[in-house]
């Protein structure tokens, strides 16, 4: 068990050791300079204590000394900077093979969704020995995903996905804190991170009652919301074909290219006209207020799960100019009608 007064939180991720080493290095530097300075003050205070007949000796300064005590701290701090930046860089880049989990924060709870569709509230189960990437979004204010045992922390924003990743090393139960002040029950927005061996984790996954994997729920939504009416593989599709989209760079009408990451897909659904794919018309209606963050997560998981069909040329998933401008209004009318029907049949999520 833990000692009575630990100085370090549990080291339960691959990065924890690195962070602690840097911390110890800094503690040593701090101890060195603090003791040095404390000792000098004491020493000078005692040695040069005011005595009758021994006036102070006037010294004006020394450029050499100034250079020394400018450059030594400068050198030390550059070492710290580079070391810390390297760790940070590592923290910011999830490995490509990382397992993905989605986390949604809201006042004042955490929801997590696993790829298999398992959902949990205020707890997060992860296996050891596998990098886990957590994609985070908030439904209201800014929260912060903080697991001290992993030494990871990431603000959870209401308008775009942020990421963090870790590879757990030690089975056990650890704290999950919300560490960005978020209102009344900020201090109650806590949970447990349960780290399990891969076998236990598999068993846990199997026991969880999932209504189907994230991607398959996403596929259902994709049909329900009518995305499939436009995003199809055939040549008559009005929207770009989505398989293979994730991770590719997309050329836009204004000739910029952007990488299709989670945020891009999210924006494409909520603000479809912010970035128009080259060769297409901005006819896609917004789904803001129609799909909730949880749904978005599923849709994105679905789109990500679509394998690239063939290695076609960049962005040419369907040939451009499929729709003549004159058709646009008709399509839109039709779309609006369909949407209204859908809205009437199914009460949608609350408007924000």
């Amino acid at each position: 068990m833990q000692p009575k007064l630990p100085l370090f939180p549990e080291q339960a991720s691959t990065i924890a050791g690195q962070v602690d080493s840097l911390y110890i290095f800094l503690v040593l530097i701090t101890a060195f300079f603090s003791l040095l300075i404390g000792a000098l003050i004491l020493f000078f205070a005692v040695k040069y204590k005011r005595k009758p007949g021994r006036p102070a000796e006037q010294i004006h300064g020394s450029t050499l000394l100034e250079i020394v005590w400018t450059s030594i701290p400068l050198g030390i701090s550059m070492v710290i900077f580079v070391w810390a930046a390297a760790i940070f860089y590592h923290m910011q880049r999830p490995p490509a093979n990382a397992m993905e989990i989605y986390g949604v924060g809201k006042q004042w709870m955490w929801k997590f969704e696993h790829q298999g569709g398992q959902r949990e509230i205020n707890s997060l189960h992860v296996p050891t020995g596998r990098p886990v990437k957590v994609t985070l979004i908030s439904q209201d204010v800014i929260h912060d995903f903080f697991v001290p045992a992993f030494r990871v922390k990431q603000d959870v924003l209401p308008n775009r996905y942020t990421y963090t990743w870790f590879e757990a090393t030690k089975p056990g139960t650890y704290h999950l804190f919300c560490s960005q002040y978020c209102g009344t029950k900020h201090s109650a927005m806590i949970g447990d991170v349960v780290v399990m061996t891969p076998e236990d984790y598999e068993a846990w996954l199997a026991s969880g009652k999932a209504e189907g994997s994230l991607a398959s729920s996403g596929e259902k939504l994709f049909q329900q919301l009518g995305c499939a009416t436009c995003h199809r593989g055939d040549s008559g599709a009005r929207g770009p074909n989505l398989p293979g989209l994730y991770g590719r760079s997309v050329r836009l009408t204004d000739d910029r290219t952007v990488v299709a990451d989670d945020n891009y897909i999210r924006e494409s659904i909520l603000l479809p006209n912010a970035k128009i794919v080259s060769g297409f018309q901005p006819i896609m209606p917004t789904f803001q207020g129609v799909v909730k963050e949880d749904d978005l997560v599923q849709l994105i998981a679905y789109i990500k799960s679509l394998p690239p069909e063939d290695a076609g040329p960049l962005n040419n998933r369907t040939s451009p100019g499929m729709i003549r401008d004159s058709e646009v209004t008709n399509i839109q009318k039709q779309m609006r009608q369909e949407n209204q029907d859908k809205a009437a049949s199914k009460p949608s999520g609350k408007q924000p």
């Binding site: 006209n273 018309q281 901005p282 006819i283 896609m284 401008d325 609006r336």
Partner: protein, 265 residues
């Protein structure tokens, strides 16, 4: 610290001379430098707004263009000339004070005041138009923001969405109108443009109003012949303020009215 002592060399006793200064020269330099430091704070205050404007303009370029195109550029253009003119008359007022020409000084100050008031008048007309068009951000003032054709929102550019839907010729090229969905989205986002339009012109107008108040006081003092070649610091400092407000507008005009005015039909 050994200190020699000198007697304060007060050069003449001007009524405006304040006790903490050694002489009028020092007083003048201190006041003018003080004014400049004050303008420094003003730069930073407007600077915060400009920064936020810049970031959102990059992010929502289409919406900013749409919003900007919906405001009447003639009024803005005319107002720019008015304000530049008032800057000129203000500079002349300072010159007249410096040369000790009382009557000219009064005339130029009055002209400055007239032009400044005219500017605010035009601004009021513009705000009124925005009010009628339901382009005031938020849902608190008037009928609330609505750029997609709300009931009772009148005015030429009120329905920004509709405007965007029209096909147009841009520099000779046929460009299709935006589909409804896109047009509506952009129109809604243009609210952010209007936030900055009102915040920036509003802060600017507040400065103008304060300026006119101070100007009235300066005018009174000029009328009473309080300024002359020996002492006209208040006129000069007020001039600095007034020119600064002019400079802000010099930037606001292109940034708010002229984001993209490429003609189309």
């Amino acid at each position: 610290m050994s200190t020699n002592q000198t007697t304060a060399p007060a050069t003449g006793h001007h009524p405006a001379w304040a006790h903490q200064f050694e002489n009028m020269q020092q007083q003048k330099e201190a006041s003018s430098f003080g004014m400049w430091v004050f303008l420094l704070t003003e730069i930073m205050m407007f600077g915060g707004l400009f920064t936020a404007y810049m970031i959102y303009r990059i992010k929502f370029y289409d919406a900013f263009v749409a919003g900007s195109s919906s405001i009447n550029v003639q009024w803005g253009f005319g107002n720019t000339l008015v304000l530049i003119g008032s800057s000129f008359t203000m500079a002349m007022a300072v010159w007249a004070a410096h040369k000790g020409k009382r009557m000219q000084q009064v005339v130029y100050l009055v002209l400055t005041m007239v032009l400044g008031t005219a500017f605010l008048g035009v601004k009021a007309v513009e705000y009124k138009a925005k009010y009628d068009e339901c382009h005031i951000p938020g849902q608190v003032i008037g009928k609330g923001f609505n750029a997609t054709g709300g009931p009772g929102c009148s005015g030429e550019g009120a329905n920004i969405a509709e405007e965007l839907e029209h096909p147009k010729t841009l520099a000779g090229k046929e460009v299709a109108g935006k589909p409804r969905a896109a047009a509506e989205q952009i129109a809604r986002q243009s609210e952010l443009f209007f936030v900055f339009y009102f915040a920036m012109t509003g802060l600017h107008a507040t400065h103008m109003i304060i300026g006119l108040g101070v100007l009235a006081w300066i005018l009174r003092r000029a009328w009473k012949s309080e300024f002359g070649p020996a002492y006209y610091t208040p006129v000069e400092n007020f001039g600095l303020y007034w020119h600064f407000v002019d400079i802000v507008w010099i930037y606001l005009f292109p940034l708010l009215y002229l984001i993209n005015r490429i003609p189309h039909h």
